[in-house]
Assembly symmetry: C2
Homo-oligomer: 171 residues x 2
Amino acid sequence: MTTPSSPQGDDGSRWLSDEEQRVWQSYLHGTLLLEDHLDRQLQRDAGLPHIYYALLVHLSHAPDMSLRMTELAKGIKITRSRLSHAISRLEASGWVRREDCSSDRRGQLACLTQSGLAKLRESAPGHVAAVRQGLFDRLSPEQVVQLGEIMRAMTAGLEPESRGADLPWRR
Amino acid sequence: MTTPSSPQGDDGSRWLSDEEQRVWQSYLHGTLLLEDHLDRQLQRDAGLPHIYYALLVHLSHAPDMSLRMTELAKGIKITRSRLSHAISRLEASGWVRREDCSSDRRGQLACLTQSGLAKLRESAPGHVAAVRQGLFDRLSPEQVVQLGEIMRAMTAGLEPESRGADLPWRR
DNA sequence: CCGAACTGGTTAAACGTTCAAGGATAGGTA
DNA sequence: TACCTATCCTTGAACGTTTAACCAGTTCGG
């Protein structure tokens, strides 16, 4: 489902093998389903999209539960623009607070509030359970290791070759 | 990055192990990067989001290059609503045409046009190359097999337990 | 046949993301 | 100091997705 038919591009580029096609289909299908599963669980139980939840978690691990916007964006791998919108929403809900950065007047800190921390504590178990149910409970220990390796290999090739409009580091 | 700290939920639910945490991070990171890679490549070279491209491909494999809306939605695993919007856009671009279904007057067929087929032929090689570059070129043959297995296992657990508003079959 | 329930598909509004632009501060370099 | 450029973050508009109705046609039980 990646290509029309015929085994090879006119320009000599290779299509995918049958095996690769099947795996690619499974990949698309599986990742879509899992993402959806998690998004729904969080939306339902916490009223948050997955990425917004990830932002709270990330902040909760940071010193003082606060981070510079750019750091946070890099950590979660989203654009600053997206982060800016997201933090606005989280701020409106009272889970995050913006603070001016003392050492750089351009800077802003995103700080997790007590209310945000409470929100997180409350919704974490359900989320973890969903991750287990959707992924780890279905994989053997060897498969977990394999998946880690595979993802490392994937990531390696896609990392930080700057492109795009907003950024030197990509989404 | 899935949970706040402490090894176990108050209710006795298990957190993820360190290994699992790492793998989960890699998974989130890797899948995000790959999806982004493909979306950008297609947006840049074909002016289409990945899913829209997938719709064209799916149609190109169907008999008469046309499918009932619901079939198409099931094939790609998206909601009917989303499909409806998507087909409207593709129709506006002239790559897909809607036709009334002769056997069921409620039904609509989405048909790939010649122009849509041309579009597909033109953009396929670049897309395949991106899939190779982002995934298959970085995996050993064994890893490809492993990935297939892992995705099958994931999918199995998430498949069709109807929930949500619009549907019996989920996104 | 009649009505209830279901199926196929669309729509409007709310939401989130991207894209392109812009304002403010910082860090050079002359 | 005066500039030029890079960095930090935000904004508004365009786009795509979700959600929750909604209408029309079909099916099934009486």
